[in-house]
Amino acid sequence: MADLKPILLVEDNPNDIELTLAALEESQLANEVAICRDGADALDFLYRRGAYAGREALDPTVVLLDLKLPKVDGLEVLAAIKSDPLLRVIPIVMLTASREESDLVRSYELGVNAFVVKPVGFRAFLDAIRDLGVFWAVLNEAPPGRFPRSGGR
């Protein structure tokens, strides 16, 4: 299981981090969850720079990206990832409290893979996270990354 790709959660709100982790936990996904607290941190993680220089781990199997983030916001992170030929293969799920149509349209324009408006009810959130996690981390064969997969799920 050591080569299981991590899930990257980019979220600034501690409550949301805890609830999302609980939901992932409920989904019984074995993937490690890396957490970044702002957009700049997330980009450092992906580019293995700053605090993450020399990071050995694989690229994430999916990035759960909050829209509203300090420093560099979610749409900017999305734009950076999707415009990088090496990173663009990483599936991005926008997790957001926003129902603003403009955010949604913009996200799709930037090439988001899924867009989840965090439901008020926790049960619904749980379902959404589980479905997403299972789809991207487990069921979906992620496109080949920079490091060859050594198989196993």
């Binding site: 409550n15 129902r99 603003e100 965090k118 009810g121």
Partner: protein
């Protein structure tokens, strides 16, 4: 219209215009003329009827032939013969023997300059008339002046003058004749003894009194023809020896008149006539025209009295006309004020003007009016048909686009297609209200010939001219000629009327401009508040929603993971926390949806309504308890043009409402039908047999957060029907509801049918 504004070029020159009336070189026979040259007053020309005969006087000094005349001239002040027009010096009796007279004869002596010559005219004195001279008139004069002051109108003034002149002269009939701007004439007042026919209100074309005749009338205020059957008396020699030119007799009192005029008089059945010019501010305003069936002489004092009366009249007239104009301006100002008030009360100035149709017409004394834009044409009063008015609008925009005001009394001359609507629109007064959106306010005047009053009897057959004169030289043929001349012409627009239209234009522009500014300010404010609302919504969607999510999330985690450690009561509390936070979060979601509804642009497409209703029906049925019985009755709903997302939301709200409020019914019946289309709208009806509502609260039904039921009875945030109304109204439709407690509710909404 002030006399000064009259166009002197208006009348075209006719053959009669070119006739050199003042150089005809003949005199009427009721007196004789001497032309004197130099300080020694040598007689160089004389009329053929001079008592001693021309041969006896020519070349001689005046003193030698007529010592009485020479003495009278010597007594006269120097300026007597210097001014314009013949000046009557005095009555003079020439003794027997003087100038070859066989017996003494009384004359009225008049003198004036003509070039280098002094012209002396000796008019045979007439026996004193019925009214005598100024002295005899003085008591009547007082009454006349009083009457002029008291006369309520210009027409009354004119009538007073006609009465007084006829009294002073003893003529059978006295007419007051007024020129209009184009020098056509109208008989505006008349006094007569019945011997001659009435000509009141008769019209004469400008050609009847041609341009140079009018100029003579202006320069020489009083003319008299005692006997139209006279034999003209030549001047001997016809040419002045020094200049080889005929004598200029334009100032002469004895001057012969045009043969055309004599024929005209005969055709009118009159032998004697007198005319007095009415000058206002130096311009010819009109004439007093007196006629007698039989030849008639008017003594000089009576003529002087007439001149005097006329000048008093003219002074009063000038004041009165200025007053009348001021009064008209005041009256029009008051009308304009009322129109302004009406415009201020309406959103669209068109509606304001049309709300007071009588005032709109009265402002320009018009028969009809129209307010025309590129797309609309609204008519008031007697106007050409709609398409003709639109045609006028296009012509005005193209040919007079840059002009603020356009006025014509002969529209067909400027715009030949208007010939067809001469009856209603011979006169057009137009104001261009706005260049950009091109709105015109138009006033129409009918053809003048249709508005003419006729005081005489136009049907009376013309009496053939016994002398075989041209048939047209008769007042009634004049009237016919005038009718031809003014065909397609309306009464001219007066300056105050044109000014009133200009003022109205300025006022409308002011209103439109102010309104535009207000709208601009409002829309700026709206945009700002819209932006603020957007920012607020965004903030609410992120920041307000999150805590509710967290509360629900943690509470559910607590229940799932620690529930076993809680008491029954504890779990109940937890459930309540979850429910309450969930409700609050849902409320925020609904609010956001509602605000987006108002902000997002509509993207209407053609929609099969049955598809939408069926989809929604299936969706809402998913949440219905399996033990409920629901009968759906969905009719053919056709197609509409609408934004599909929004329409779906509206339908969903209506159908889920219907399901919700039929929950208690043993068998719910929900009907969705399309009523017959009406007034360009499709009407849809959603009816249920649920709990209904009290019509007393129908006004609250579609309000935001208005609920008619307690939350325990029926859950909800009170925003569903507000959404329905917002969606429908944004599509240009309307919503309505009828219901009765316990007997179901019926909702209707309409959507405009698009062409």
């Amino acid at each position: 219209m002030s006399s000064a504004a009259r166009s002197h070029e208006a009348a075209e020159l006719t053959a009669c215009d070119r006739e050199p009336i003042h150089r005809l070189g003949t005199l009427q026979p009721h007196g004789f003329l001497l032309a004197l040259q130099g300080p020694e007053r040598r007689i160089v020309q004389a009329s053929a009827n001079v008592p001693a005969g021309p041969d006896g006087v020519l070349g001689r000094r005046l003193e030698a032939v007529f010592p009485e005349i020479a003495a009278a001239l010597a007594e006269a002040p120097a300026e007597a013969s210097a001014g314009v027009g013949a000046r009557h010096l005095r009555s003079l009796t020439l003794g027997a023997g003087s100038g070859g007279l066989s017996d003494a004869r009384a004359y009225d002596l008049a003198v004036h300059r003509s070039g280098d010559l002094t012209l002396v005219e000796m008019e045979e004195a007439a026996p004193a008339g019925p009214a005598g001279g100024l002295d005899a008139l003085s008591s009547r004069l007082d009454a006349f002046v009083e009457g002029l002051h008291a006369a309520p109108s210009v027409a009354d003034l004119c009538h007073l003058l006609a009465v007084e002149i006829r009294h002073a002269t003893g003529f059978d009939r006295a007419l007051v004749y007024r020129f209009d701007r184009d020098w056509h004439g109208t008989v505006v007042a008349e006094d007569g003894n019945g011997v001659l026919p009435s000509y009141l209100d008769l019209r004469f074309p400008a050609s009847d009194i041609p341009a140079q005749a009018r100029e003579l009338y202006r320069r020489n205020r009083l003319r008299i023809i005692p006997d139209a059957g006279y034999e003209p008396v030549p001047i001997v020699p016809p040419l002045t020896p020094d200049t080889e030119a005929p004598l200029d007799l334009s100032q002469s009192v004895l001057r012969s008149v045009s043969p055309v005029h004599v024929a005209y008089m005969r055709n009118m059945g009159t032998q004697a006539s007198m005319s007095v010019s009415i000058l206002v501010d130096g311009a010819l305003w009109g004439l007093i025209s007196c006629h007698n069936q039989a030849p008639r002489r008017v003594p000089l004092p009576a003529r002087n009295a007439c001149d005097f009366l006329t000048r008093i009249f003219a002074l009063q007239l000038a004041a009165r006309e200025r007053g009348a104009e001021a009064e008209q301006r005041l009256r029009l100002g008051a009308i304009a004020q009322r129109l302004l008030g009406a415009m201020a009360e309406t959103e669209d100035f068109h509606d304001g003007l049309l709300a007071r149709p009588d005032d709109l017409l009265a402002l320009a004394d018009a028969g009809g009016a129209a307010i025309v834009t590129a797309g609309t044409c609204r008519l008031v009063g007697r106007t050409p048909p709609d398409d003709a008015v639109r045609g006028l609008y296009r012509w005005l925009s193209a040919a007079h686009g840059g002009e603020d005001v356009y006025a014509t009394e002969a529209l067909a001359e400027a715009h030949p297609p208007a010939t067809a609507c001469a009856e209603t629109a011979s006169g057009l007064l137009a104001i261009a209200v706005s260049q950009r959106s091109a709105t015109y306010v138009l006033w129409f005047r009918p053809e003048a010939v249709r508005t003419v009053k006729w005081g005489g009897n136009p049907a009376k057959p013309a009496i053939a001219d016994p002398a075989g004169g041209p048939a047209r030289l008769h007042p009634r043929t004049s009237f016919e000629t005038w009718k031809e001349t003014v065909k397609g012409r309306a009464q001219p627009w007066s300056l105050p009327e044109i000014d009133a239209a200009k003022d109205l234009r300025a006022a409308i522009l002011g209103i439109v401009l102010r309104r535009a500014e207000e709208m601009a300010a409002l829309s700026e404010e709206l945009q700002r508040s819209n932006k603020e609302l957007e920012a607020f919504s965004y903030s609410v969607s992120h920041d307000l929603r999150a805590p509710f999510r967290h509360i629900v999330g943690y509470a559910e985690l607590l229940r799932a993971r620690e529930g076993a450690n809680l008491s029954e009561k504890g779990r109940h509390y937890l459930d309540t926390v979850v429910e309450a936070a969930f409700a609050a979060g849902t409320l925020v979601d609904n609010l956001l949806a509602f605000s987006q509804m108002g902000r997002n642009a509509l993207k209407p497409i053609d929609i099969a309504m049955n598809l939408i209703v069926e989809e929604v029906r299936r969706k809402v049925m998913r949440d219905v308890a399996p033990d409920r019985t629901v009968h759906w009755r969905i009719g053919p709903l056709g197609r509409v043009r609408a934004d599909p997302m929004m329409l779906r939301l509206a339908v969903e709200n209506l159908l889920s409402n219907a399901l919700k409020y039929t929950r208690g019914a043993p068998e719910a019946v929900i009907e969705v039908v399309r009523e017959p289309d009406r007034d360009g709208e499709a009407t849809f009806r959603v009816r249920d047999n649920g709990v209904g509502f009290d019509m007393a609260y129908v006004g609250k039904l579609f309000g935001v957060f208005q609920r008619l039921h307690r939350t325990e009875e029926f859950e909800g945030t009170g925003i569903g029907l507000a959404n329905v109304r917002r969606i429908v109204e944004r599509h240009g439709g309307r919503v309505s509801a009828v219901g009765e407690l316990g007997r179901g509710a019926t909702f209707r909404f309409t959507l405009p049918l698009c062409a």
